[in-house]
């Protein structure tokens, strides 16, 4: 009856990572009632990609928070009544975890090279609509399974330079 939100753990309706053409790289919807089939999901993703040029917007009664880097677009979707800051914190966790896992090379190529780990991270962040972990460090640590690899093990000199440059750039940006 009232305009209040039912207290529930199920706060996230979906998470998505799209590429620079708006194609799905990894998405997950947790509420089967919003999209009856994959067709509607993809249609929604197109809308999302075309419309979400700002950090937050509202599409089809869903609040979408968004962040991007180079050729990757990250979205977290929740009910339009949901506390936007909670969605934002889930998005931050998603983005920062991916960034940590990819050692700040947040771009499509590296993401696909590490798709298995990214899938695991996706699964660690949200389980069936319940935010499972919101600390990106914890998520990264839970999936940082390739212990035997040292960071610069199989990188070429240019890659090392690249990531050094990246890190410099990041520290400057902060």
């Amino acid at each position: 009856m009232s305009g209040l939100f039912e207290p529930t753990l199920y706060m996230v309706k979906g998470m998505a990572i799209l590429d620079s053409d708006g194609n799905r790289l990894l998405t997950k919807y947790y509420d089967p009632t919003i999209f009856p089939s994959v067709k509607e999901e993809k249609k929604f993703e197109k809308q999302l990609f075309n419309r979400a040029n700002a950090e937050i917007t509202m599409i089809n009664r869903l609040t979408c928070v968004y962040r991007s880097n180079v050729d990757l677009y990250f979205y977290v979707i929740g009910s339009s009544q949901e506390n936007e800051l909670i969605l934002q914190s889930v998005l931050n966790c998603l983005y920062e975890s991916v960034s940590t896992i990819l050692r700040k090379n947040v771009e499509k190529r590296t993401l696909l090279d590490n798709l298995d780990i990214i899938m695991l991270a996706f699964d660690e962040i949200c389980d069936g609509g319940i935010p499972l972990e919101t600390d990106p460090q914890v998520v990264a640590q839970r999936v940082s399974l390739r212990v035997e690899e040292s960071p610069f093990n199989d990188q070429t000199v240019t890659q090392v330079l690249q990531s050094a440059r990246e890190q410099l750039k990041w520290s400057l940006l902060k």
Partner: protein, 900 residues
């Protein structure tokens, strides 16, 4: 820049950007054979498994056989101890468990992992395991689940709690046994564990108000660390306050908590608390005021601070919530107007749109002019969806400040001329139409704007709709002749659908304006030469009707044509064809089409956003309004089909009317029974939808025994429901013969549910005893009133219909409705009581009037049309002069005697 150049170069080197793109299902499934190799080829298997997961994620679906094959192949991978591979297998299990068969076989492997020592496995294994188990299997792992919930590793604990929450969806009873562990988790130091624990604890407790109250007060005093948990707690507290079952002392304690959370250090919590206070104040304005205005002011000033935050999300959240307040208490938000106006320049257009819609609600009459100017500049760079939101806001503004309607109408007309899609134009047109309907003074101006618009309108549906409106309103204006030119232009310039509509509209002008009739006849004659059949047919028909110059025929054929429900008409015709066709088809028993829902003009695109702003209660109220129309037609069909399928009810004739369901029990009692009354020409069927809410009982041979006080009614037949298991609704029927004497066709029935009870196992639902024992359960009384014999009918021109029926069967009486205090109340009461349809928008009582005339139209059970004119005057209570006309004097008498 550097990064993107680098990225491109890399793409070139690899010759393609996505290594997974080209993989197709068949070849990947082939590759999955690698899973069977011993020893496990970790590298290849990981790659192939990732590919499968990628494909599934892309929306590829596997058949049951394919899924089962992959699933079984995947289980071989448990032989490897590679951590990544194992974790991917868990993911695979979760993805495939809904499609594949016999997934239960991995239970032991997963149980081993979840109880093992490797932390990297345990949490994920628990989550995978809980996806494939059912309630009965859970008992086997119950001990481990309990341990896991209180595990020292936060990940394991969270995984167990979250899985537990998923299990609660389908088997709530099992998890109730774990309450002690869940409670311990609530006091965890870990942010997420505390949050998951609270969510789970609330889930277990939520049906028990007292337990929730106790839990909340304990948590409030002990304090929580996790901002997520606090947000959840705030929602629980807000719900408790809203339910208004707690004492005043408890409530003020809870409000104090919300108030204190407005000063929390986490923005997330502060926002959640502000949102809760605001929602509570909106929800409780009608009843007792729980939130004091001081709380609301504090919450709003917190939100006001957020409006100037550098974080867009925070600005968005704040302006959305303020928009919600503005719906109910615009005055409270006025203080934020300046900040909101600054947001109009926000780079995030979603925020700007929310800001302007809020401003339109809170703005005073004086600020409208200024707002209109900023809207004009603003509209160019937002999408249609948001433009519609602005239009909707203009609509409510227009209704609020009638004096500004001229200005708003001008703005809307400008918007109508600019670029935009159909949905947008439709929203503008329907806003103008609303204004026209609301304010007779604005009518001519509005019609002019619309006429001008259809001169250059590319949307057929919209043009037809506006033409229809012209036909309805135009003839009643001071100078109807001026619209003829616009309408006839359509006949010359437009496509066939618009031409046909224009012809019908011309006919309406001809029917109502005698001085225009000769000219109209000439125009119709020209239309007879049209290239399109439909246009020629219509013009020929209308020309013939109008040429008779007989007011009765004109009224029946043009002003108030019969409006049958098409699906019912089709059914009636089919059954006529299969029966005796020597007699003429009797159309009187075909139900009339239900009148369209009043507010259904809200375009769906717009409602999505307005609903989002206005909160869930409006979502539920807006959506049914849209669906009402469709539903009542299809409900009639559904009932008719269902009843026709029962042999005992064959030969009753077509279904005339079905009532809305009436609850015969309190909600949340042992048995829930609802009654629907189906009226036929000479019979009434009482349909009882029964639900058994006791999970340890199986009811058999369920019937409802009804008895009437008098002896007019005859109970012909009772159809029992054979068995009524827990929570599966069942239906039983009672067939009544309607008394011959038309004056005694109302009555009150006592009702009693009779059944045989068999005790059964609550979990499996299997009965435990062979024989049951008889029992009964008293239900509330059933009323059959006049409205059950009358269905609402539409008359687009009441006066014409009234004259057509003539004073022959007229009955008049005067009543004093002392219990009513307002005209609006009287209008609703009388309308509902008689079950008829208000015409000519007479259901709307203008503000500040002391008298009002209500026009009602309906059809009586036998197909007789009934019209009612009720003159209402406000004195001590409401005085009503009721005049009834009908095709049958007896029916007039029934209706007139019904009131009183």
């Amino acid at each position: 820049m550097l990064i993107s150049v680098h990225g491109m170069k890399k793409d070139e080197e690899h010759g393609g950007s996505n290594p997974y793109q080209c993989s197709d299902k068949t070849s990947v499934l082939q590759e999955a054979r690698v899973f069977n190799e011993t020893p496990v080829n970790v590298k290849r298997s990981t790659h192939v498994l990732t590919k499968i997961l990628y494909l599934l994620n892309q929306g590829e679906t596997l058949g049951t056989k394919e899924a089962t094959d992959v699933f079984f192949a995947m289980t071989k991978l448990f032989q490897s101890n590679d951590i990544i591979l194992r974790r991917l297998v868990y993911l695979g299990i979760k993805e495939l468990c809904s499609v594949a068969e016999d997934t239960i076989i991995v239970t032991s492997s997963l149980t081993k992992d979840m109880t093992g020592r490797e932390d990297q496995y345990r949490a994920s294994a628990i989550r995978a395991l809980c996806r494939i188990t059912d309630a009965s299997m859970l008992q086997a792992v119950e001990r481990y689940m309990k341990q896991a919930m209180v595990d020292r590793t936060s990940g394991v604990s969270s995984a167990a709690l979250v899985s537990c929450r998923h299990i609660a969806q389908h088997s709530p009873d099992v998890v109730k046994r774990w309450v002690a562990e869940v409670q311990e988790a609530v006091h965890s130091d870990n942010v997420m564990v505390q949050y998951h624990g609270l969510g789970m604890l609330y889930q277990i407790r939520k049906s028990d108000k007292l337990a929730v109250t106790k839990m909340v007060s304990k948590l409030i005093s002990s304090g929580m660390r996790s901002p997520y948990a606090i947000c959840l707690l705030i929602r629980i507290v807000a719900k408790l306050i809203a339910e208004e079952e707690s004492s005043a002392g408890e409530r003020s304690h809870l409000m104090e908590f919300l108030e204190s959370m407005l000063r929390h250090k986490s923005e997330m919590v502060v926002y959640e608390a502000a949102n809760a206070v605001v929602a509570l104040s909106a929800a409780t304005t009608t009843t007792t005021t729980t939130t004091t205005s001081r709380d609301l002011v504090t919450a709003i000033s917190v939100l006001q601070l957020f409006l100037s935050s550098p974080k867009p999300t925070l600005r968005f959240a704040a302006v959305r919530t303020l928009g919600k307040v503005a719906m109910t208490q615009p005055a409270a938000v006025t203080a934020c107007n300046l900040d909101l106006e600054n947001l109009l320049q926000d780079v995030n257009r979603s925020i700007a749109t929310l800001a302007i819609t809020t401003l339109l609600k809170t703005g005073s009459e004086g600020s409208i002019d200024r707002l209109m100017r900023s809207i004009a500049a603003f509209l160019n760079d937002i999408s249609d969806e948001f433009k519609i939101v602005v239009v909707e806001a203009l609509r409510s503004l227009a209704l609020q400040y009638p004096r500004k309607q001229a200005l708003l109408m001008g703005q809307l007309a400008d918007m109508l001329r600019n670029e935009g899609g159909l949905a947008y134009k439709e929203a503008i047109a329907s806003t103008i139409i609303t204004i026209i309907e609301d304010n007779p003074d604005a009518k001519e101006k509005g019609l002019d704007h619309l006429c001008e618009f259809i001169e250059d309108c590319e949307h057929t549906t919209l043009a037809v709709r506006i033409l229809h409106l012209l036909g309805k309103e135009g003839p009643r204006t001071s100078r109807p002749a001026r619209y003829i030119r616009f309408i006839y232009n359509r006949v010359i310039l437009e496509n066939a659908a618009v031409r046909a509509a224009a012809v019908s509209v011309l006919a309406r002008f001809g029917a109502q304006c005698p001085d225009l009739l000769p000219n109209i006849l000439v125009l119709l004659q020209r239309c007879m030469l049209d290239t399109e059949d439909e246009v020629r047919d219509r013009s020929t028909y209308y020309h013939a009707v109008l040429s008779t110059r007989d007011p009765a025929i004109i009224a029946r054929c043009i002003l108030n044509p019969p409006m049958y429900s098409l699906s019912s008409l089709e059914r009636a015709l089919l059954s006529y064809l299969s029966s005796d066709t020597t007699k003429a088809f009797d159309a009187s028993c075909v139900p009339a089409a239900p009148p369209p829902a009043a507010s259904a003009s809200l375009s769906s695109a717009a409602s999505s956003i307005t609903a989002a702003i206005s909160g869930p209660e409006d979502v539920t109220s807006a959506v049914p309004a849209l669906q009402q129309e469709k539903r009542s037609v299809s409900m009639h069909d559904k009932y008719a089909e269902r009843l026709a399928a029962i042999p005992a009810f064959a030969g009753l004739g077509p279904l005339f009317k079905s009532s809305a369901p009436v609850e015969l029990t309190e909600s949340e009692t042992e048995y829930v029974v609802r009654c629907v009354k189906h009226t036929f020409l000479g019979h009434i069927i009482l349909q009882f939808d029964c639900t058994n809410t006791l999970n340890d009982q199986l009811l058999e041979d369920v019937s409802v025994v009804v008895e009437e006080d008098g002896s007019n009614w005859q109970i012909l037949q009772t159809l029992p429901c054979a068995s009524l298991p827990y929570s599966c609704p069942g239906t039983c029927y009672v067939l009544l013969a309607i008394p011959e004497d038309i004056m005694s066709t109302t009555g009150t029935f006592t009702a009693c549910l009779k059944f045989q009870v068999r005790d059964c196992d609550p979990i499996t639902g299997e009965p435990e005893t062979e024989d049951g024992y008889g029992d009964d359960y008293t239900l509330e009384d059933i009323e059959i009133s006049v409205s059950d014999h009358v269905s609402a009918a539409q008359r687009s021109n009441f006066a014409a219909a009234w004259e057509e029926l003539g004073p022959g069967s007229e009955l008049e009486d005067t009543f004093a409705l002392t219990s009513l205090s307002s005209l609006a109340e009287a209008v609703t009461q009388v309308t509902n009581f008689l079950g008829m349809q208000p015409c000519d928008r007479s259901e709307k009582v203008p503000d500040g009037k002391n008298s009002h005339t209500l026009y009602l139209a309906g059809t009586y059970r036998g197909g007789q049309s009934v019209l009612v004119r009720a003159k209402l005057a406000l004195s001590d209570g409401v005085a009503m002069q009721l005049t009834v006309r009908s095709t049958d004097p007896a029916v007039s008498e029934v209706i007139a005697s019904a009131v009183g």
